[in-house]
């Protein structure tokens, strides 16, 4: 493979995966598999966010985003790899006792109140949805739809580089019009299956939208990092304008507020209704050091990025907006960990502490899954023109001005 960057990323992926696998010896398969799910959730969010962003840009005929859209199209190359990353968890659930990650997959898994999953009325009511067969089928369907829509978008955009036919733009607009509801529903289903079902007693109608907000924030922050990386390397000199950063910074601010709105709504409704089937989810997230993680999310995931992104100067200064992008990536990783890791319980049913050696496996998994995703992006990058040179909106994009 004549692509040193991609090879390096692939090495990081292999090393991260190997380090995570070693973690099984230290913390056991249940902890390590759940940590892997955190990293998988993080990178899947970034890929889904890129897909959703491209669809939205096409539907709104957005002009400022054309040069960034090409980078996100390369990012979509990560979907097959992400499917591969989920595969070990699904296989282990089929081949083992079932509850390596998701407790409801094992009918003999104990639940609160000295019962087993199979005798739990809340499980019986949800059994039609929560069974491993449907979980596997739908996970395959989710990925198939994402890969298919991505392939349509990529093919149309890449082919337009050579023939300049405006029909490709129309075709992508058509793909986007049906793609938005399809991706919205599949990402909601995926978030419910992969993350929310870890505590299947719980209800929240906000969950899919919560994951969507992290998807968008992840994709936009990676977009900033990619654009500035390409600018620093020289490729984007003369292409990247102040106004591109301003536009993407405004979207980052929007989705920071959106995340806060969704997360607060979820908390507020549950706090107000005060129903035990719902409040327990937050109660365990106030136990031990999770309380500090909760507070960190309020201030680090909302207040700090919100205040920073209000400033025009911060949004258009390369070094500053890059730091803000890294900050947001960090906090959404913590946010996803906050949603997944408290499913790891001690023998009394309390969540295992956040700060411990177990956290290391989430970090190694982050490098593992991330290495493969970045390699997929870097392998796709040199296969096309740097920017969609024959897109009908490319002129407007290159002369972007507020």
């Amino acid at each position: 493979m004549n692509n040193p960057g991609a090879r390096k990323a692939l090495l990081v992926g292999v090393a991260g995966t190997a380090a995570t696998a070693l973690g099984i010896l230290v913390s056991g398969p249940h902890v390590v598999a759940t940590s892997w799910l955190v990293a998988f959730g993080f990178w899947a969010a970034a890929a889904i966010g890129m897909l959703m962003m491209i669809l939205i840009w096409h539907v709104f005929d957005s002009s400022w985003s054309v040069v960034l859209r090409r980078q996100f199209e390369h990012g979509l190359a990560a979907f097959p790899w992400l499917a591969l990353m989920l595969l070990p968890l699904v296989l282990a659930s089929w081949l083992g006792q079932g509850d390596i990650v998701w407790p409801w997959m094992n009918p003999l898994h104990p639940v609160h109140g000295d019962k087993l999953v199979q005798a739990d009325v809340l499980y019986e009511k949800k059994e039609a949805f929560l069974n491993i067969r449907l979980f596997t089928i739908l996970s395959v369907v989710f990925f198939a739809l994402w890969i298919w829509i991505s392939a349509r978008l990529r093919k149309a955009s890449f082919t337009q580089d050579s023939d300049g036919d405006v029909r490709w733009t129309h075709r992508n607009r058509f793909t986007s019009a049906f793609g938005i509801p399809v991706v919205a529903l599949t990402l909601t289903g995926a978030a419910i299956y992969w993350f929310k079902s870890l505590e299947y007693h719980w209800f929240s109608t906000m969950y899919g939208v919560w994951y969507f907000s992290d998807c968008m924030r992840g994709a936009l922050s990676l977009g900033v990092i990619i654009m500035l990386w390409l600018h620093g390397r020289g490729d984007f000199r003369g292409i990247l304008k102040t106004d591109h950063l301003w536009a993407i910074g405004q979207l980052m601010l929007t989705f920071t507020v959106f995340w806060a709105y969704i997360s607060f709504d979820q908390y507020f409704l549950i706090w107000n209704a005060n129903v035990p089937e719902e409040t327990f989810w937050y109660n365990i997230r106030e136990y031990g050091d999770w309380w500090y993680v909760s507070l960190f999310l309020v201030f680090g995931n909302f207040l700090l990025p919100f205040l920073l992104l209000l400033s025009y100067r911060f949004k258009v200064t390369h070094a500053t907006i890059r730091r803000i992008a890294y900050l947001i990536l960090f906090v959404i990783f913590i946010d996803i960990a906050y949603n997944i890791l408290p499913a790891l319980k001690d023998e009394k049913g309390n969540p295992l502490a956040f700060f411990s050696v177990r956290l290391l496996w989430s970090v190694t998994s982050l490098a593992g899954v991330g290495g493969f995703c970045v390699a997929a992006y870097l392998r796709s990058l040199p296969t096309t023109k740097l920017i969609p040179i024959r897109d009908p909106r490319i002129g407007e994009c290159l002369h972007q001005n507020e």
Binding site: F264, F268, N272, N274, L310
Partner: protein, 188 residues
């Protein structure tokens, strides 16, 4: 000044608002603006039928101050909501609902944030009026006979007499040198 009549036959210089020059293309206006900016003028303006990209920078105009009003309005709105609900629910009409505390920032939050938005909107509009000196029912350039073409096909550059660098001869020479046509004095 409303209600005061202008004095009879004031000297000509007193009545002058400034000089207006006509340009035919946005490019000519842009280049002229850069030169006027570099010549150190402060009180001057461009009139164009449509937004000209890059004109802000050519005029040396910084970013708007309106966001500061917005921020102040937002903070005021948030505090108003919190304090109002805290006073009402804790002291003025304390009511126990579902065993919840009399005051919690949680249930005060939706109202506070609605007020944040409302006050931000008010402060933004008010601040915009303030920094633009609105409402302004009259402006001296409106007396210029061709001013209406500044809303269709011509571009104007106006330098005010109030500018410290203003000098009837030199300023006129500058505008002529920049390619301005039909340079005229505006009545004050």
């Amino acid at each position: 000044m409303p209600g005061t009549r202008p004095p009879e036959n004031p000297p000509m210089a007193e009545k002058t608002y400034g000089l207006i020059a006509t340009f035919d293309t946005p490019g000519a206006l842009l280049r002229a603006a850069e030169r006027v900016r570099d010549a150190g003028y402060r009180k001057w303006d461009c009139i164009s039928p449509f937004p000209v990209h890059g004109l802000d920078a050519a005029m040396g105009v910084g970013r708007s101050h309106v966001p500061r009003f917005s921020l102040a309005g937002g903070i005021t709105g948030f505090c108003t909501g919190m304090v109002m609900i805290w006073y009402m629910d804790k002291f003025d009409y304390a009511l126990s609902v579902g065993g919840k505390p009399f005051f919690s920032p949680l249930f005060a939050f939706p109202v506070s944030y609605e007020l944040t938005i409302l006050f931000t909107a008010f402060a933004t509009i008010g601040g915009m009026f303030l920094v633009n000196g609105l409402p302004m029912h009259y402006h001296p350039v409106l007396k210029y006979e061709h001013i209406r073409r500044g809303t269709s096909d011509l571009f104007f550059l106006v330098i005010e007499r109030a500018d410290p660098r203003y000098d009837a001869e030199n300023t006129r020479a500058l505008l002529e040198g920049l390619g301005g046509r039909e340079i005229a004095e505006l009545e004050g």
